[in-house]
């Protein structure tokens, strides 16, 4: 039995999918966003391994491009989300000022509860033209940080009460040294997990929004790809290659990411080896 077999397989899947999404659009002789560059609705063949769409795009190139865009958007959104969540959560957990703590706790708790999907769809639909990739990522981060912030808050509050904090203070550590030496190693592990989880979360949200057709449809992501298959009734017309290949790649990526996250949690946080 190889140790961490599932982790190895997942990492291999993630790396090869990232390579696929970066390299294939580079090798293609045309812009993957263009329509009607290849013959329409061809089933998979040697020339077009994943077939072609009703919009005249090569699915092999298109899904690489879509996966790349989804990944970029998901990562940007996840970074923003973790930054917001960490700032809010650590101030709420670390401050000694009662009023600031109370207010921030209220804010975090209400962002955990507010149903943000309707609001997200409202924003997306009303400002579709103005929101680019960065805008969509920012909106997702601005509305979705509640849950993570609550976690950060409890982590920080827990750290403050731990014995090693007192030991460090009594042995003459300053605040900065305390944070740098004692907390940072702990928090960095925690943040890396939050970031990876954030990617899964944000990619999912972006896909949901795009299936509604309310993100920018010109630059394909996995979500907009699904949107166009719905528009062209690919399910009823038997164009199975159009949606199957991108969906399988997408699902493989998300599952591999999730397995990595689970392993990291088990090793870093629960201390299982």
């Amino acid at each position: 039995m190889v140790q961490y077999l599932d982790l190895r397989i997942s990492l291999a899947i993630i790396i090869s999918l990232i390579l696929y999404s970066v390299v294939v659009p580079q090798l293609s002789s045309y812009d993957p966003r263009l329509w009607n560059v290849v013959p329409r609705e061809r089933p998979p063949s040697l020339q077009y391994p994943f077939g072609t769409t009703s919009t005249g795009q090569d699915v092999f190139v298109l899904s690489a491009w879509a996966l790349r865009n989804s990944l970029i958007l998901g990562s940007i959104a996840a970074v923003l989300l973790v930054v917001i969540a960490f700032t809010m959560g650590s101030i709420a957990g670390g401050t000694r000022n009662t009023i600031i703590r109370g207010l921030l706790t209220y804010l975090i708790d209400s962002f955990c509860v507010i149903p943000f999907l309707p609001i997200l769809i409202m924003i997306g639909s009303l400002w579709r033209e103005a929101l680019g990739t960065i805008g969509t990522a920012l909106v997702i981060a601005l509305l979705g940080w509640g849950g993570q912030a609550r976690n950060v808050r409890s982590v920080i509050m827990g750290l403050r009460e731990r014995t090693f904090t007192y030991t460090a203070i009594f042995s003459g550590y300053g605040v900065l040294k305390l944070i740098y030496r004692s907390y940072l190693p702990y928090i960095v592990r925690w943040l890396s997990i939050a970031f990876l989880f954030g990617i899964i979360f944000c990619i999912g949200l972006e896909t949901t929004l795009s299936v509604f057709g309310i993100t920018s449809l010109e630059n394909p992501t996995i979500g907009t790809l699904i949107f166009w298959t719905r528009e062209y009734q690919a399910y009823l017309r038997g164009l199975w290659w159009w949606y199957t290949f991108p969906l399988v790649l997408f699902i493989a990526f998300l599952v591999a990411m999730y397995i990595v996250v689970r392993r990291l949690i088990a090793v870093f946080i629960e201390g299982v080896r």
Partner: protein, 350 residues
């Protein structure tokens, strides 16, 4: 929240009456949550570049009615007045907050001049029927599966099942719904019901009409949320198993049934019941994604249509219901929690 810890400074200090203090603090949070949600929704509609009144006007003009410019101007003012868009923004804001208390959100644009509230009440029973059944069924299946899996952890079947769950857990719901649509409609060609909405009456016919329309979307929700509930329960049960008293019981050789019911089941149920209450509060928002994908006549579809057509009043009406539902549910959980879990007490330290 263990009683007897060192008293910390709180925003409000009623050391003598911890229950009352908790109630007041929690009520403040409830109001704050509802207010934040409503304000965000309001700002989103009012800051948007689109104007619903102009749309009604252009629709009337598009019907081929000839009007002189001054007549158009009068009409524009009348319509703006009907939607309340002629007043300054803070006055609109106050009348919106007022409308939340009376549940009167003004005329709908999509079905002008019917009140938005009347339209919402047509779609509400459909959404409640779909989500109530789906949530309850998936909760029962998921929680039971999770607890049983934690006991028989080393069986091969359980391992395989867990890996199946792991592959489904990170998928966004929309992908699964699409997969359902592809399999049932695209491949199996199953008939998924009529598109007309019959009048809701208390009869078997209505129930049948609802069921024949709701089974496929409900099934898709049940599959994915059972997995969520099962994963949650499994994680909770594993934590419970590590507790010394459960470990002791296992070492003592207590029968599996008893272990399931008394030692692990109870610990998992406490937390999962509160989570169930929270997701029941979510019902009033409608299942936006499910209803959109399966074209199911519920609040989610209504919300989507109102967003696309800039029907601000209906949009705010549906969002208000969903915010009220979730906020109230989470408030009630926090209030009831100490009665379910004897370890939690009001007052004391943090």
């Amino acid at each position: 929240m263990v009683n007897g810890g060192p008293q910390k400074k709180r925003v409000l200090n009623l050391a003598a009456a911890p229950l009352l203090q908790n109630l007041i603090e929690r009520l403040m949070l409830l109001i704050f949550t509802i207010w934040t949600g409503l304000t965000i929704s309001f700002l989103v509609t009012r800051l948007s570049p689109r104007n619903p009144a102009e749309q009604v006007l252009s629709r009337i003009q598009g019907a081929g009615v000839f009007m002189r410019p001054e007549e158009i101007e009068v009409m524009r003012r009348t319509i703006m007045g009907l939607f309340g868009l002629d007043k300054p923004i803070w006055e609109q804001y106050f009348s919106f907050i007022q409308s939340v208390f009376t549940f009167r959100f003004g005329p709908s644009l999509l079905n002008f001049p019917v009140a938005a509230n009347d339209i919402i009440s047509i779609y509400m029973p459909w959404t409640i029927f779909l989500l109530l059944t789906a949530t309850l069924i998936s909760w029962i299946i998921g929680v039971v599966t999770g607890i049983v899996m934690s006991i028989r952890e080393h069986k091969r079947g359980v391992r395989v099942l867990e890996y199946i769950f792991i592959t489904m857990f990170p998928l966004p719901y929309v992908v699964l719904a699409i997969a359902f649509l592809i399999i049932f409609v695209g491949v199996l060609r199953v008939y998924i019901g009529v598109t007309i909405i019959p009048k809701i009456t208390l009869s078997l016919e209505t129930l049948w009409a609802m069921f024949s329309r709701a089974w496929l979307p409900a099934l898709s929700i049940i599959v994915l949320s059972s997995v969520n509930w099962a994963m949650g329960s499994l994680a909770l049960a594993r934590t419970a198993k590590r507790e010394p008293h459960v470990f002791y019981a296992m070492v003592r050789g207590i029968p599996t049934n008893l272990l399931l019911k008394r030692y692990i089941g109870k610990n998992v149920l406490i937390l999962q019941i509160t989570a169930l209450a929270l997701s029941l509060g979510n019902i009033f928002g409608g299942a936006l994604v499910t209803e959109y994908i399966f074209n199911y006549p519920g609040l989610g579809t209504l919300l989507y249509q109102s967003i696309v057509t800039n029907d601000f009043n209906t949009m705010l009406g549906v969002t208000t219901y969903s915010i009220l539902g979730v906020a109230t549910a989470s408030f009630m959980i926090d209030m009831i929690y100490p009665f379910i879990d004897p370890r939690v007490r009001y007052g004391g330290g943090e």
